[in-house]
């Protein structure tokens, strides 16, 4: 099996593809394969030329932290839950393209939290408990902030005022769990989500936590109608 990886030494340098052979265990994931390639101290590419370790972000290795989001064969996914048995003989791995590349497959996703901060998405009033909403809230609170939903979204581009699905879901969470200032939150939601979402819902296809984003949008929009 081969991995053709889009590499980049530093933020402002030119990206290039480099291919590596993989002869490790096949019951592993892409994360396991990257680890395997990186394990040796004399890493060579498929042409036998000396190379360097492939940088990638990793923390939990079990799809609970969102670190290893990347584009695998043109599909945004978490490396730790993309299994080799489902891949081809030659596979392309690239960093998420909607974010600045720091090094190889490591990107800077700080913008996700920055946007939530800019739009003041936090609790200002007391907490409210809703039995009806609990299941959705619980699932949505599992959002990894991994950025896969933004990568795949046709409406999201860096610097744009549209903040994407992860933003909409946090708005829903605040809206349904706290007695916050509804008006302000609604205005932010309208400005940074409702106004530009074309409802392709591609975000839901790639979400590793299967967040019910459509339910969040519906609820926030219902709020708008009220």
């Amino acid at each position: 099996m081969k991995f053709k990886i889009l590499r980049q030494k530093a933020p402002n340098t030119k990206p290039y593809y480099e291919t590596f052979d993989y002869d490790g265990p096949m019951d592993s994931s892409v994360a396991g394969a990257l680890d395997y390639i990186n394990y040796k101290d004399d890493i060579v590419n498929d042409k036998g030329q000396a190379s360097s370790r492939i940088s990638w972000e990793c923390s939990c290795l079990q799809a609970m932290c969102g670190s290893c989001a990347m584009v695998i064969n043109n599909k945004p996914a978490l490396a730790c839950e993309t299994f080799l048995k489902d891949l081809k003989e030659i596979n392309t791995i690239e960093p998420l393209k909607k974010f600045m590349t720091v090094c190889d497959l490591v990107v800077d996703r700080s913008i996700i939290a920055e946007n939530l901060l800019k739009a003041n998405v936090y609790k200002t009033g007391e907490v409210k408990v809703s039995k009806k909403d609990y299941e959705n809230q619980y699932t949505i609170a599992k959002c990894l902030k991994c950025g896969l939903c933004l990568e795949v979204c046709p409406n999201y581009t860096k610097g744009n005022k549209f903040y994407g699905a992860s933003f909409a879901n946090d708005c829903y969470l605040i809206h349904t769990t706290s007695k916050s200032d509804e008006k302000e939150l609604k205005a932010e939601f309208d400005k940074h989500f409702a106004a530009s979402c074309s409802k392709s819902l591609s975000c839901m296809d790639v979400c590793p936590m299967n967040l019910p984003t459509l339910a969040s949008i519906a609820r926030m929009s219902r709020n708008k109608a009220n």
């Binding site: 396991g32 370790r53 923390s59 939990c60 670190s67 907490v127």
Partner: protein, 545 residues
Amino acid sequence: MKKAVIIGSGISGLSCAISCAEKGIKSILVSPFVSERSQSVLAAGGINAAFDSFNEGDSIESHIEDTLKGGRYIAGKKAVTGLCKSAPDIVNWLESLGTLFTRNDKGNPDQRAFGGQSHKRTCFCGASTGKQIVSSLVMEARKYESLGLIERRLWCDFYAALIDDGICYGGIIYNEASLSLEIIYADALVMAVGGQNTLFGKTTGSTMCDGFAAGKLFTQGVELKNLEFIQYHPTTIETAQKKMLVSEAVRGEGGRLYYLKDGKRVYFMEERFGKDGNLMPRDVVSRCIYECKRDVFLDISFLGEDQIDKRIPEVRDLCKKYINLDISKESIKVSPSVHFFMGGIAVGLNHESSIKRLYAIGECASIYHGANRLGGNSLLAAIYSGKIAANDIENSTAFASKDGLFKAFFEDENKNLAKMFKSDSKFPVMYVRSLLAESMNKNLAISRNEQALKAGIEDISYYLSVADKIKYDSSVLAYFNYSVGGILTLAKAILLSANERKESRGAHFRSDYPVECDDFKAASVVSYNGGDIKVRFDKEGQYEV
């Protein structure tokens, strides 16, 4: 305005930053990545608080006794009392922030049974309690970020503390984006850096928790404590990429451990300890599994699909995804694996270390858990310790500027780093890290003995002798390079502590000293002086009373 530098933005770091902000203290929250990447999100099972929701006579006293007993009576009673007394308030506080606890019919947080506990005391959010707590704390921290009371510094790693004459004046961090060191003066430096996982390669936890900060501070004069107590979680599954935790919640919900003999199930924990045998403390269960010397299985299938999906859905998903096994139909093959570090930076009741104004909270601090931690007490301690440190920072005198004092130190560290960037030798840094993990796994296993420990000490001493001659690897973060010395020093201190404790207690089992012995009924404290490492037993309760 007072200022605290907090290293680490998992649950304990967030708890401390939020508590500081509530008191008008500004925090600089330093972490390479956002809180969602922290190990805290992996905490599955729950958080203990004696609410007695089942009217079965649970009490704060009972929580205290279970915690002390689980830790084999070397944790401080006063410390543990403070922890357990505050537990109900902490759960209420989390609820007030919007943490989504699983609720009972009355609308209060539901509670489940956990190992080593006399009552059903563990509040939980399905089997993703840590993640749910992180989500609500991140939201709360965001509020204070917008007020300028919390300032996040991402892409930054801990480098060193600024210490003069037993007092800490802030820290030096390494900025991976600007590739340079930065000095931050503050009224307090709070370490919230988690456990020491990468000493053992890959554990159940995050690959980002590596023990460097504890090791580095140790060389700067900070005392460490109880390092030999390393918790092996009894039920983990082996996958191609790591050992993954099967939450204790499975046994809390009735899960039974067994092995097969002549085709028949032997429920060895129940045979040995009675009907609640599966819920013995983790150290006991891990050792029993180890002693079986054959495949051990965990069965929860009898609970039925509905209840499994309601109570522990994440465990079902995990097993399906990584080992293609449906826990509602089949038993899970499990084995013990390194999970939690009871040892770490020695702190007093106020969470201050042996250096004034230098605090440690969460897993990197050694307090409350003694020789073995009970499930559900780590999330509790993470939040409690953050609050206690914030209280102490509020009550301590303000910082007197010492800018000039660390100028030379900072310049020297810059030179050391520049030298490291140019280093070249036959010892590649990642190779040394793998060798370390290999030696630790072999010599600090569930069962230890003097011969293995001495072999480990010999290995690490050799790696340490070449640590400042390693070959710089520019293809990994600078942090991976400069952290090697601190990590190795910590490893040596752990091995020396384990060798000095010539008894078996809690998670520390010595095959050559298999019995618990009153001579060692105290915390071990380890100190560093110019390369010389000394271990003593703290019988007077210098840190934890």
